[in-house]
C-alpha cells in the first residue's frame, strides 16, 4: 500500500512539474502574443496619426470651399443640360 502511495505521489510530482512547465510556456506564449499585438496597435497609431494629418489638411476651409464650388458648378452644368 505504501509503495502504491509513494508511486502516486511521484506521479503527482511529475504531473505538477509538467503542469508548471506548461503554464510557464503558456505564459511566455501569451506574453509573446501580447507584445506582438502591442506593436501592431502602435503600428496603427502611427497610421492613424498620418491619416489624421492628411485628412486635416484636406479639410482646410479653402479646400472645402473649392470642393463645394466644384460641386455647385457640376450641379449647374447638369441642370443646364437637363433644361436643354
Amino acid at each position: 500500500m505504501r509503495w502504491m502511495l509513494a508511486g502516486l505521489l511521484f506521479a503527482l510530482a511529475v504531473a505538477l512539474a509538467i503542469f508548471t512547465a506548461a503554464l510557464r510556456a503558456e505564459n511566455s506564449r501569451s506574453r509573446h502574443r501580447v507584445e506582438r499585438e502591442y506593436r501592431e496597435v502602435w503600428d496603427r497609431v502611427v497610421e492613424f496619426k498620418r491619416l489624421s494629418i492628411e485628412k486635416l489638411s484636406e479639410a482646410s476651409p479653402q479646400r472645402l470651399a473649392a470642393a463645394h464650388w466644384r460641386h455647385l458648378r457640376a450641379e449647374e452644368a447638369r441642370q443646364e443640360a437637363r433644361a436643354q
Partner: protein
C-alpha cells in the same frame, strides 16, 4: 494475498530505478549551479558572471521612447505644429556562414535582401511612381551596404576572405508612417530565409505643420544636427531655428524607455507599457489661423496686384500684422517676398524687416507732445512752405534738406496736421520737444527696443547711433534729428514695433505684443503675463488723436486716406468714415543692398483700427519697393489693412452666430486623446484612450 519473492524484488528494483532519477537530477543541478558556477571569460570585456541576475539581464531588453517636442496651437486650438509618430527602421544584417564559401552566393544573398527590403518600402498602395522609388531605395541601400560590408573589395570569385566583415547595422528608412510599409517589413522579418536579418522598429517623431503655407516665419522650423559631448560621445539634437519653434517650452524632455523581454532568438515578450514618458508640452499661440489666412491672402493680393495690372512695379517685400487691442495679442502676421525661392529660408518681414516708417508716426508724435503738455490741441500752425512761421521756426535752423509737404497746406491745427499729414506741421510740433523728451518718446513707444518675445533673429532698429550723442549741438539736433523724427525719418522700425507703438498709445506705455498666450507644461496650463499695462495716455489725448485718424479715412479732399475711402466705397459699398480710423505713411529712403550698393527705396505704410470709435483691432501694413516708382501708403498699404479689419469683424460676427465650441471649429482640441494634437504613444493614459477609439 501473498507476493512471491521474485515479484517483490522486481517491484523494488523498479522503484529503486525510479528513485535514481531525482537523485541524478539533484546531482546534475548541484553540478551546474554550484560546481560550474563562476564566470565566463570574454575577449576585451569583463567576465560574464554566471549568476541568476545575469540570466535575467540577458533576457531584458529596452526600447527607447523619444520625448515629443511639443504642440503649437492657435488661439482656438487649431493645430499649427505637432509631433507625428513614425518609425526609423534599422537592419542588423548578419551574412550566413553558408554563403561565405562563394562570393557569387554572397552577392546573390545580399541582392535578395536588398530587393526584399526595397519592395517592402514601396508597399504603400497610395505611392505614385512605385518602380522609380524602389530603384532609388535599392541604389541607396546598395551604397550603404557597400560601405558597411566593403563589398567593393571582394574578389571576383572564390570564398569570401575570413576577415571580411560579415555584419552590418544599416538604416533602412526613416520617417516610416505607413501601415502598409510597416506590415510589409514585419512580414519580411518573420520569413524564415530572412532570419539572419533583424529589423529594429525604432520609435521616432516627425514634425508636421498642418497650415504650413501660412505659418513659415511665424511658427518657424527645426533643425537636427550632430552634437558632441565632453567625453567624445555624439548625438543628434533637434533645435528650433526660428519662430515659435525656438521657444524654450518646446525643448523636449529627456526621452523615456520601455522594458520588455527577449528569448535566446531575440523574440520579444511583453513586460509593461510605457510608464514614465513625458507629456508633450503645448504652446498656445495668440494667432488666429483664419485671420492669418486672410492676412496672407490680402497682403499677397495687394503686393502682386501691380504686376497683374501692369501699372506699377512689384514691391520687394511686404508685411502686415493684426493685433487685438484688449490683450495685445498678435492675431495675424503675414510676410511676403518678391524674390522668394524658399519660403522656409525667407525672412519673416513683420519681425525682421526694418524700414523708415514715414508719416505713420505723426499721430504718435502729436500724442506724445499733447500728453507732455507741450502741445495745445487747439493751436494753429501756418504750414504753408514760405510762411513767416516756417522761416522763423524751421528755415533759420539751417537744415540741409527743406521740409516739404506733398500738397500745400495752410493754417492747420493738430487735427488738421494728422489729417493732411503735414510734414511742416509735424516738424513744428517736433521742435517743441526737448532732446530728453525725444529720448523718452523713443522709450515710450518702444522704438529701438526688442519686442521681448525671446525669439531669435529679431530686428530691433531704432535711431541713428549718433542721433542722441551729447556732443551734437542742440541746434543741429533740432535742425536734423528732431525734424526727421517728427515725420518718421532717421528711425528704423519693424511692422510689429509700429503696431506696439500704437498699442501703447491706446492701451498704456508698458503694453507689449503677445505671441504666446500660455503653455501647458507637464499637463499644467501656465498663462503668459498680460501684454497690457503701464501709465496710460490721458483719455482726451487718445480721443483727440483717434478723432483725427478717423478723419484721415474720409471723403475730405485734404485727407490722405481719400483714395482708399473712395475705392472701398466703390468696391465694397462701404463708407469707411467713422468705421475705420488710420494713418497713411510714405517714405523715400536709401538703403544698402548686397550686390547692388545704395538703392533708393520707397515705403508705403498704413496703420488702421476698427471700430473707429472704440478700437478693438489694430492692423499695420508696410510694403517696400526698391525703385523710385510712385508708391503711396494711402493707395497701396491701406486697402489690405482695411479689408483685413473688415473681414476680422465679419468673422467674429459669424463665429458669434455659429456659437462655436470653445475648442475651435475643427474640433482639434489638444486634450482629446487620439486626435492629431495628442501625442499618442507618449503617455499611458493617452494610449488606452487612443486605442479605445
Amino acid at each position: 494475498m501473498s507476493i512471491e519473492k521474485s515479484e517483490l524484488l522486481r517491484v523494488r528494483g523498479a522503484f529503486a530505478m525510479l528513485g535514481v532519477v531525482p537523485v541524478f537530477l539533484a546531482g546534475w543541478f548541484g553540478y551546474v549551479q554550484v560546481g560550474q558556477a563562476g564566470a565566463l571569460e570574454r575577449a576585451g570585456r569583463a567576465p560574464l558572471r554566471l549568476v541568476p541576475a545575469t540570466a535575467d539581464s540577458q533576457g531584458s531588453r529596452q526600447e527607447k521612447v523619444p520625448a515629443p517636442r511639443g504642440t503649437i496651437v492657435d488661439r482656438h486650438g487649431n493645430l499649427l505644429a505637432l509631433d507625428c509618430e513614425t518609425y526609423e527602421i534599422r537592419a542588423d544584417i548578419r551574412v550566413p556562414m553558408g554563403v561565405r564559401d562563394d562570393v557569387g552566393e554572397y552577392r546573390a544573398w545580399l541582392a535578395k535582401v536588398l530587393d526584399a527590403l526595397s519592395l517592402a518600402l514601396v508597399a504603400d498602395p497610395d505611392l505614385a511612381d512605385r518602380e522609380d522609388v524602389r530603384k532609388r531605395h535599392v541604389e541607396r541601400l546598395a551604397k550603404t551596404l557597400q560601405r558597411e560590408l566593403r563589398t567593393g573589395e571582394l574578389p571576383a570569385s572564390g570564398p569570401v576572405p575570413s576577415r571580411h566583415p560579415g555584419r552590418a547595422d544599416v538604416l533602412v528608412a526613416g520617417g516610416v508612417d505607413s501601415l502598409a510599409i510597416v506590415e510589409a517589413l514585419r512580414g519580411l522579418a518573420a520569413e524564415r530565409w530572412f532570419g539572419n536579418v533583424t529589423l529594429h522598429f525604432l520609435r521616432s517623431y516627425q514634425r508636421s505643420y498642418p497650415e504650413r503655407d501660412l505659418t513659415y516665419g511665424l511658427v518657424g522650423h527645426t533643425d537636427t544636427k550632430w552634437r558632441k559631448g565632453a567625453g567624445g560621445a555624439s548625438w543628434l539634437e533637434t533645435t528650433g531655428v526660428c519662430g515659435l519653434e525656438a521657444m524654450a517650452e518646446l525643448r523636449p524632455d529627456p526621452s523615456g524607455a520601455r522594458q520588455f523581454l527577449a528569448d535566446g532568438r531575440g523574440r520579444p515578450y511583453f513586460l509593461a507599457p510605457i510608464s514614465d514618458a513625458p507629456l508633450p508640452n503645448v504652446l498656445h499661440s495668440t494667432i488666429d489661423v483664419d485671420l492669418q489666412r486672410i492676412a496672407v491672402k490680402e497682403l499677397a493680393a495687394q503686393a502682386e496686384a501691380g504686376a497683374r495690372e501692369g501699372k506699377v512695379t512689384v514691391p520687394k517685400w511686404g508685411s502686415m500684422v493684426l493685433v487685438e487691442m484688449a490683450t495685445g495679442d498678435v492675431l495675424a502676421a503675414a510676410s511676403w517676398h518678391r524674390d522668394e525661392k524658399n519660403a522656409q529660408a525667407a525672412s519673416f518681414t513683420p519681425y525682421q524687416s526694418l524700414c523708415e516708417p514715414g508719416s505713420v508716426v505723426k499721430p504718435l508724435v502729436l500724442a506724445y507732445a499733447y500728453e507732455a503738455g507741450k502741445l495745445d490741441w487747439s493751436a494753429q500752425f501756418d504750414c504753408a512752405p514760405g510762411s513767416a512761421e516756417y522761416r522763423e521756426r524751421i528755415a533759420h535752423l539751417g537744415r540741409r534738406k527743406p521740409v516739404r509737404d506733398d500738397h500745400d497746406c495752410h493754417v492747420l491745427d493738430p487735427h488738421g496736421i494728422i489729417m493732411n499729414s503735414s510734414n511742416i506741421g509735424a516738424a513744428y510740433v517736433g521742435l517743441m520737444l526737448e532732446r530728453e523728451e525725444w529720448e523718452d518718446y523713443m522709450e515710450c513707444f518702444g522704438f529701438g527696443r526688442p519686442l521681448g518675445w525671446s525669439l531669435p533673429h529679431g530686428s530691433v532698429g531704432g535711431t541713428n547711433k549718433r542721433s542722441f550723442a551729447r556732443d551734437i549741438p542742440l541746434r543741429s539736433f533740432n535742425a536734423n534729428s528732431a525734424i526727421s523724427f517728427s515725420f518718421g525719418y532717421e528711425l528704423q522700425t519693424s511692422t510689429l514695433q509700429m503696431a506696439r507703438a500704437y498699442l501703447r498709445m491706446f492701451r498704456g506705455r508698458d503694453a507689449q505684443l503677445r505671441i504666446c498666450r500660455g503653455a501647458e507644461v507637464d499637463g499644467q496650463y501656465q498663462p503668459a503675463p498680460s501684454g497690457i499695462g503701464g501709465r496710460a495716455f490721458r483719455p482726451e489725448v487718445v480721443d483727440a488723436v483717434r478723432a483725427a485718424m478717423m478723419d484721415v479715412v474720409s471723403a475730405d479732399p485734404h485727407a490722405t486716406g481719400t483714395y482708399m475711402h473712395a475705392r472701398m466705397l466703390k468696391e465694397l459699398g462701404i463708407d469707411l468714415h467713422g468705421v475705420v480710423g488710420g494713418k497713411t505713411g510714405t517714405a523715400a529712403s536709401t538703403i544698402g543692398i548686397p550686390g547692388r550698393g545704395a538703392v533708393s527705396v520707397r515705403n508705403a505704410s498704413f496703420v488702421g483700427f476698427l471700430p473707429a470709435d472704440n478700437p478693438r483691432w489694430l492692423a499695420v501694413c508696410v510694403l517696400q519697393k526698391d525703385d523710385s516708382a510712385r508708391f503711396y501708403g494711402g493707395s497701396y498699404a491701406a486697402p489690405p489693412v482695411v479689408r483685413l479689419l473688415l473681414q476680422c469683424q465679419q468673422l467674429e460676427q459669424r463665429r458669434l452666430q455659429r456659437q462655436e465650441p470653445a475648442n475651435g471649429a475643427s474640433g482639434q482640441a489638444r486634450d482629446a486623446s487620439g486626435t492629431p494634437g495628442d501625442s499618442g504613444w507618449s503617455h499611458a493614459a493617452s494610449e488606452s484612450k487612443a486605442l479605445g477609439r
